[in-house]
Each structure stands twice: as structure tokens, then as C-alpha cells.
């Protein structure tokens, strides 16, 4: 029986795949049962029944399919688990914590067996654990409520105690971080807007599952702390908290502790919390001393009362038992032989009934059953994007192949057009895989603003807009630090304290708006405050002091003055606070942004506030480009920068007294830049009237670029310039290069730099 019926590996692969998926989706549900059974044995209710059914089906499916493939050990074990569940389902037996434990072990066993099966095509080696597990399941099936404790202990060291793998830890850390993030957001709302029952309940649920996860991977410290936090939330939920206590703040700090511990774990640390006892004690203060001993009104009468009232036990014996109560009361009484087991289960049943529907109010993880997403290594996606880049190049090589020049190829044309379309779609889809909404990033800022406003005693409202805007994951990583710096700056320098605001005729609470949006292939992130704005005089004074500026700076425009704060070593804070003022912030901001080709812009008006705009290109890999020709050289201009192209008439050209060439378009004058002069190449035409002008726009600045010829539009894969060329700046106004169909290298022009160049300086 131990050999599969056929050598058909395919079906076994299919089997392991399907079963693993099923186990993945149902294991949390099984763990969820653990919550119901923590206090006492539990009988399924209307709410938990569907989950019980799902779990039953899991084992049923495994039994059936394993039986089909003759994996007898797997099948018999699943059968035993199925029987146990069926008995619970029919109400013939209550589910105890031991049962849940056993079911979890069964899941572990299934996984281990699936691994075996996948590699050895047989579950033969699992005979021993299977027999043991089946026996245990059988035992629990026959046992009445109240599991024998010593056996559960024996199981701890049993061969089935599968180790927690590093992969599990990694998955746990990732999930736990997300959970904490959510808890934190909830706590912030709580601390700002008073407590709402739904909010607290939600927090309780989140903390609860966090605790569950910690327990699952065996992080005792984290579990203890989160359990205590959960209790505090429970106290608040029940409205039994001390009226003076403000737990939200304390809990926020503890969230940080948990986060730190998690970070430690992901770096291979043991996951212990220093000073755990202190934190626990701290939280103890928030819990009423009688909490847990006499539960609030709507809970059922305690077991002992029922027992006494039924006359099954006298008070003396009861008090004795209560004195040592660390386990469910029923167990103790039974063990000491004071009360027969059936009386206890009778009383338990009675207790359960009086609890009615109220009892399963514990969180039921119903919604989590159907989620289907996949965590993929970012590296794989990057490889894929690179490959698609290569494919675009190969496609260009093919379609523009010199061999085809001058040939009339109607069918080839059609086919190649179709292919271009598909390649483009493929590329777009791939780029969206890397995109994630900025909501998570913005949420982190909520916390920051909250902390800063408490620290500096400034009242601030943070508004976040466009949180659904999706941005490349790398971009999110790169702008996190800059954003933190910028918000700190706004809070420290921009926004005033309440008194100063009132004196200036503003509301005492300042507003900070954080918004994200898409615009012309760029992501715009705007940080806007209604504070005092940049102080021109102060900035100029500081710049002179630090020797960053020569002259008195009167000739500088407001924008240029604002740009000074991005210079390394610039800081105007009168005293260094731990919020900002170390003078390293803004230049780091700029550096980080330029790494992702981003730009930063400051608009500020005194007493009105400051607007900082970050512009980041949506993609850093492939752009739509227009190919142009100057002399014998070809260039690519990003299409998004092009406003129009035209052949100028002689009348539209003006030369200013100092020799600048300007061209007039619809009554506006724009500077002309001769590309061949910039890059010192010989152009085909030297006269403006014979050439083509392309009007480029970048952040409100315009320039007309003089070129010889426009060749056409082309998907352009951006390749970085080598360190040497890129850093030393030998080639001006070039942001990268690309490889053409014939293998030539072609430079990509940077519209931003072009617009800043003074044509006279050439």
C-alpha cells in the first residue's frame, strides 16, 4: 500500500500543491479555534460552525485524495481528525484546547508528509508519527471534556514538534509588522478622537491575532506583552477602565517596543524584550485590580456557583480548589475526585448555555479564508523588468533591422505592429506589479506628526490626500527618509505654536497637508503647511555666515533663496532640537531624490505657508521617447517634456541686445538653445529658419531646442551612464542612454537641465 498506484508524478505534484494551498488557508482558522478554547472547552455555535465545516472539509479532502493516491498514513490520520471534528460538530463532544493543539499538530504532520510525498512519492517514512497522531486523535475522540494534562506535556517533546523554519519567521515578521502598523494607526485615531467602541474592538482583534502569531512561532516575550495590551484593550472595551487613565499613549509606546523586537528578530535576534517586566507592570496599572476575577455583568455565572447550586459540591471543597486554581476549575475538582466528570461537563454545558450567543463573541477569523496573494522576491520582478527592457531593445533591433531597409513588407509591418503593441502592454503590466499605494507611507507620517506635535506642543491637523496613488516600491523606500525630514522641518520651522498663530490671526491648530497624485508620468508628492513660510532674510544671513554665498544675495530670486536650504551644512534653527536643526536634513533629501531622478521644489510665501513638491518619475526603466537628429548624432527626448515642434519663420526670431536668441510663439518669447553648440558637434543647418525647434517644458521653465530633424517616436529603455561620464559631468544635460536597433548608443536628453542652461554661456 505504500507505493503510489502509478508513477504519475504529475498527479502527486498537483496533489501537494492543492493540499498545501488548502492547509495554508485553513490553518489560521484552526489556530483561531484556540481562542475559543482558551478559557474552557468550547462547543461550536452558529458563528463558528462554518469554520468548523471548512476545517472538516480540509481533512475530508485530504483523506479522499490521499486515499486515491494510496498515501495510507496520511489518509488514516486525516480520517481520525475528521472523526474528531465530526463529533465536535454534532455536539457530542466539546472542543478543548488539547483538541485544537492536536489539530494544529495534524496540520504540521500533513505539511511534513506533503514534503515527503513531493520528494519521495511515498509517505512510508511517516508511519510512526502517523500512528502516534492517529492514536492521540482517537484518544481525544473517546475522551470527554477535560483533557489529560500530562499527555499534552508529553506531546511537547514528541517527534511531531516540528521546528519553526526561518521562512516561517520571515513570513511572521512581515505579517506582524503590517498588523502593528494597523494597530498603530488605530491607536492614533483613538488618541485624537476619543474612543469609539468599534475602534477599540477592532484594535482588540488586531492585537489578538498578533498575539496569536507570536505564540505560534514561540516568541514568549512578545506574546506576554501583547497579551497584556490585549487585556488593557479588553478593559477599555468593557468600559471598566479608570476614567483618568489614557492608555492610547502608553500603548503607542509599547507598539514601538514590539516593533523594535520584531526588527531584532528579522535580523536574527532572539526576540526578547529588555525590561519586559517593567512594561507589564506599567500596563498592570491600567487594568482594574479586580479585572478577570469577577467579569462584568453580562457574563454567565461562574462554574463554582452552578456546582454549588446544583448541590454537587460544597463550598469548602470549592474554596480549596479555587485556592490552587491555575487550570480550569472543572479539571481540578475532577482530579481531586470531589465531583464526578459527568457532573462537571453537565455544569459546563449549563454555563455555556447561560452564556448563550454571547460567548463566541471572541474574534472569528472568517474573512481571512479566501485571500489569494503571493509574496514574490523583489529580485525576481526586477529580473523580469530587465528582461522586458532587453526585449524592447531586441524588438527595435528586429523592426528597424538594416536588412529590411527599403523593402515593402506589408505583412511584416502588420505583425511587427501587433508585436509592439503586446510588448508595450506587457511592459505596462510588469511595471504595475511593483507599484504599491502610498497609504502605508502616509500612515507612518501620521504617527510622526502625532509624536512631534506632542513634543513641540504645537497643535497640528494632518490631512492626507490621494493615499491610493500607486508608486514604485523603490520610490516609496527612497522617499521615506526625505518625507520624514520634510515633515520635521515643517513642524519645527514652518508651523508656529498656538500663541504665535493666534497672534498672526490664524487658527491655533496648524494644518499640514500631505498629498500624492499622478501627473504626466510623474508622481507628485506635496507637503503643504500653513505656517510662517520661509524667512528670506534669515536664510540669506545664515548662508553668508556659513560661507555658502558670496555677495549679499539681493539679486537672488525667492526660488533661488529657497534652493539654498538644500546646500550641505545649511541649517537655520536657532537651537538644535531633537526634532530638526542638525543641518543634515535637506541635502540628504535632495540626494535621496536625485537617486531616483526626482526633483524638489519649494514655494513659500511669508505667513501663508510653504509648499514643497516632490516630483518623481513614475518609472525608471522605460520611457516614451522622441528621436531627433543633429548632424550625425541622434538623441532621445522624453515625450512628456515636449510641448510642440515647429519650423520658425524669420519674423518670429528676435535677438536680444546681449546676443540671446529668442523665438516668439503666440506672443510669448522663449529662449533658443542650439543643441549642436551645447555638445560641440557640427550640425547640418546653422540657420534657425531651416532647422526645427522643439519647445520643451520642465516645471514651468521653457526652452526651444534647435535640431536638424525629427526621426520619430520610440520606446526607450533607459540605461544608466557609466560612473565616469555620469558623475564628472562631461556630457551636459544627459540623463542616460539607450541602445538603438542597429546597436548604436543614443543619449537621452534631460529636459530639466536643458531648461536651466544659459545659452550665452555656451
Amino acid at each position: 500500500m505504500n507505493t503510489p498506484i502509478s508513477e504519475d508524478v504529475m498527479i502527486i505534484q498537483e496533489f501537494t500543491q492543492e493540499c498545501t494551498d488548502l492547509l495554508d488557508s485553513l490553518e489560521p482558522a484552526i489556530v483561531g479555534f484556540g481562542e475559543f478554547t482558551k478559557e474552557s472547552a468550547f462547543a461550536p455555535t452558529d458563528e463558528s460552525m462554518p469554520i468548523l465545516h471548512e476545517v472538516f472539509r480540509l481533512f475530508h479532502s485530504i483523506k479522499g485524495s490521499a486515499g486515491f493516491l494510496n498515501f495510507s498514513h496520511m489518509s488514516t490520520t486525516a480520517h481520525a481528525a475528521e472523526n474528531l471534528l465530526d463529533k465536535i460538530r454534532k455536539g457530542e463532544k466539546n472542543m478543548s484546547a488539547d483538541d485544537v493543539d492536536l489539530l494544529c499538530r495534524t496540520c504540521d504532520f500533513m505539511r511534513a508528509t506533503l514534503d515527503q510525498v513531493a520528494t519521495h512519492l511515498s509517505d512510508g517514512v511517516m508511519a510512526e508519527p502517523a500512528a502516534e497522531l492517529t492514536a492521540r486523535l482517537q484518544q481525544n475522540l473517546e475522551a470527554e471534556a477535560g483533557p489529560p494534562v500530562h499527555q499534552a506535556e508529553a506531546m511537547q517533546s514528541g517527534p511531531l514538534d516540528l521546528a519553526v523554519t526561518p521562512a516561517m519567521i520571515a513570513a511572521f515578521v512581515q505579517e506582524a509588522e503590517e498588523q502593528l502598523q494597523e494597530v498603530e494607526a488605530g491607536l492614533l485615531t483613538w488618541s485624537d478622537g476619543g474612543e469609539k467602541p468599534e475602534l477599540i474592538a477592532e484594535l482588540f482583534r488586531k492585537m489578538h491575532s498578533f498575539k496569536g502569531n507570536c505564540g505560534f512561532v514561540g516568541l514568549a516575550d512578545l506574546e506576554r506583552l501583547s497579551h497584556r495590551i490585549e487585556t488593557v484593550l479588553d478593559v477599555v472595551k468593557a468600559g471598566a477602565g479608570k476614567p483618568t487613565a489614557k492608555p492610547a499613549e502608553a500603548l503607542l509606546n509599547l507598539c514601538d517596543i514590539l516593533k523594535e523586537a520584531l526588527a531584532g528578530i528579522s535580523q536574527g535576534g532572539p526576540g526578547t524584550i529588555d525590561g519586559l517586566e517593567l512594561y507589564l507592570e506599567l500596563l498592570e496599572d491600567l487594568i482594574p485590580s479586580d479585572w478577570g476575577n469577577s467579569p462584568p455583568a453580562p457574563s454567565p455565572p461562574p462554574l463554582e456557583e452552578i456546582l454549588v447550586s446544583q448541590g454537587d459540591v460544597d463550598e469548602e471543597t470549592l474554596n480549596e480548589a479555587l485556592a490552587t486554581q491555575a487550570r480550569p476549575l472543572g479539571e481540578i475538582l475532577m482530579e481531586s475526585g470531589s465531583v464526578p466528570a459527568d457532573k462537571i461537563s453537565q455544569a459546563l454545558e449549563c454555563q455555556r448555555r447561560s452564556a448563550g450567543v454571547a460567548q463566541p463573541a471572541a474574534p472569528a477569523p472568517v474573512t481571512a479564508l479566501k485571500r489569494q496573494d503571493l509574496r514574490v522576491d523583489l529580485e525576481k520582478i526586477d529580473t523580469m523588468i530587465n528582461l522586458i527592457g532587453e526585449m524592447v531593445i531586441a524588438e527595435n533591433m528586429l523592426i528597424h533591422s538594416p536588412d529590411l531597409e527599403g523593402l515593402e513588407l506589408e505583412n511584416f509591418g502588420k505583425a511587427s505592429q501587433q508585436m509592439s503593441k503586446i510588448v508595450k502592454e506587457l511592459q505596462e503590466v510588469t511595471m504595475t506589479i511593483r507599484m504599491i499605494p502610498v497609504a502605508g507611507l502616509f500612515n507612518r507620517m501620521t504617527r510622526l506628526v502625532h509624536d512631534l506635535s506632542r513634543k513641540s506642543a504645537k497643535k497640528v491637523d494632518l490631512l492626507t490626500l490621494g493615499t491610493e496613488t500607486e508608486v514604485d516600491k523603490t520610490v516609496i523606500e527612497k522617499i521615506t527618509d526625505p518625507l520624514v525630514h520634510l515633515i520635521r522641518n515643517s513642524m519645527d520651522h514652518g508651523l508656529e505654536g498656538p500663541e504665535e498663530r493666534l497672534a498672526a490671526g490664524k487658527e491655533s491648530t496648524g494644518t499640514l497637508r500631505l498629498s500624492a497624485s499622478h501627473q504626466e508620468g510623474e508622481v507628485l508628492i506635496r507637503i503643504e503647511d500653513d505656517g510662517r513660510g520661509l524667512n528670506r532674510a534669515k536664510i540669506l544671513k545664515k548662508a553668508l555666515e556659513k560661507g555658502l554665498l558670496t555677495g549679499n544675495g539681493d539679486e537672488l530670486s525667492d526660488k533661488d533663496v529657497a534652493a539654498l536650504i538644500f546646500l550641505p551644512g545649511f541649517s537655520t534653527a536657532d537651537q538644535i532640537t531633537d526634532v530638526s536643526g542638525r543641518g543634515v536634513g535637506m541635502d540628504v533629501v535632495k540626494q535621496n531624490l536625485s537617486q531616483i531622478n526626482g526633483k524638489i521644489d519649494i514655494d513659500s510665501s511669508p505667513d501663508q505657508g510653504t509648499l514643497i513638491t516632490l516630483r518623481i518619475p513614475l518609472t525608471m526603466a522605460i520611457i516614451d521617447g522622441m528621436m531627433i537628429k543633429v548632424g550625425s548624432s541622434r538623441y532621445i527626448i522624453p515625450i512628456l517634456a515636449i510641448r510642440e515642434s515647429f519650423r520658425p519663420t524669420a519674423q518670429s526670431i528676435t535677438v536680444t541686445p546681449d546676443g540671446r536668441e529668442m523665438v516668439k510663439i503666440r506672443d510669448r518669447l522663449f529662449p533658443v538653445l542650439r543643441l549642436h553648440r551645447l555638445h560641440q558637434i557640427s550640425a547640418a543647418c546653422e540657420t534657425l529658419e531651416n532647422s526645427i525647434l522643439i519647445l520643451l517644458e520642465n516645471q514651468g521653465r521653457h526652452v526651444c531646442l534647435m535640431v536638424d530633424e525629427i526621426i520619430g517616436q520610440q520606446q526607450t529603455v533607459i540605461k544608466g551612464l557609466s560612473e565616469y561620464i555620469g558623475h564628472i559631468g562631461q556630457v551636459r544635460c544627459v540623463s542616460g542612454c539607450t541602445i538603438l536597433g542597429n546597436g548604436d548608443v543614443c543619449l537621452i536628453l534631460d529636459a530639466g537641465n536643458l531648461a536651466e542652461i544659459d545659452s550665452l554661456a555656451l
Binding site: G64, F68, R89
Partner: protein, 133 residues
């Protein structure tokens, strides 16, 4: 015992009926839609089927889909565990994917490849405890 045979091919359906007719009441459906309707009706009458023999390749709604719908119906009605209807898939398809889909996603109780033999079907019914040894 109440049985539902779901099969679009007349011959196969007749053969199946011949085999199981002596076991109890035997209803027939020509495709998945009819089967789901019949199942729903039986639930409404509080007289559910004990066994469904389900073909996979059928017009309108295939067997896999039908099975999932039936399991969903059961879930809606709070039927689960050993009360779930026993389903045996009967099909000419012998590819691993479809077998495992039915087995794992649909929790079917057996998977028989056509042509159906009296012996194998009855053995299967015995195995899943529908008829006594």
C-alpha cells in the same frame, strides 16, 4: 437512499441507473444546472440526496463547477462534516489536474474513470460507507 445521477450521455446514465437503482430512489439530471436545481429543491423539501454521481464534461455547467456550487449551497444551509452529500465523480477525463481539483477543492468522495464498472462503483460505495459490507 436518495441518489442523483448527473450525466449528459444517455447510455452512461442508463448504465449508472442500472447499477444503483436497487439502492433507493434515483433521480436524473442532464447537466450541472439541472443538478444544482435538483439539489436545491431537495434541500428545500428537507429530503437531501445521500449520493450524487457527477460527470465532469457536460454542457451548460461542468461537473467541477456543479460540485463547487453544491458545496456552497451546503455551506449556506449550514450543512457540513459527515452530513455533506457524498459525491462520486465519473468521467472519461483522467488528467491529474481535474482529479485533484475535484478531490481537494470540491471534497468529492470518489473519482471513477469511465467506463463505469458495477464492481468498482459498488466497492466505492461500500468504502465511503453508503452501503453495508
Amino acid at each position: 437512499m436518495k441518489i442523483l445521477l448527473v450525466e449528459d450521455d444517455f447510455i452512461s446514465r442508463t448504465v449508472l441507473q442500472e447499477i444503483v437503482a436497487h439502492l433507493g430512489v434515483c433521480h436524473q439530471a442532464m447537466d450541472g444546472k439541472e443538478a444544482v436545481n435538483a439539489y436545491r429543491r431537495a434541500l428545500a423539501e428537507n429530503d437531501p440526496y445521500n449520493l450524487i454521481c457527477l460527470d465532469i464534461m457536460m454542457p451548460n455547467m461542468d461537473g467541477q463547477e456543479t460540485l463547487l456550487r453544491i458545496r456552497d449551497l451546503e455551506k449556506e444551509h449550514g450543512i457540513g462534516g459527515s452530513d455533506m452529500v457524498k459525491v462520486i465523480m465519473t468521467t472519461a477525463l483522467n488528467d491529474p489536474k481535474s482529479i485533484m481539483t475535484a478531490m481537494v477543492k470540491g471534497s468529492c468522495d470518489g473519482y471513477l474513470v469511465k467506463p463505469i464498472q458495477r464492481g468498482t462503483l459498488l466497492a466505492k460505495l461500500r468504502e465511503i460507507g453508503l452501503i453495508s459490507q
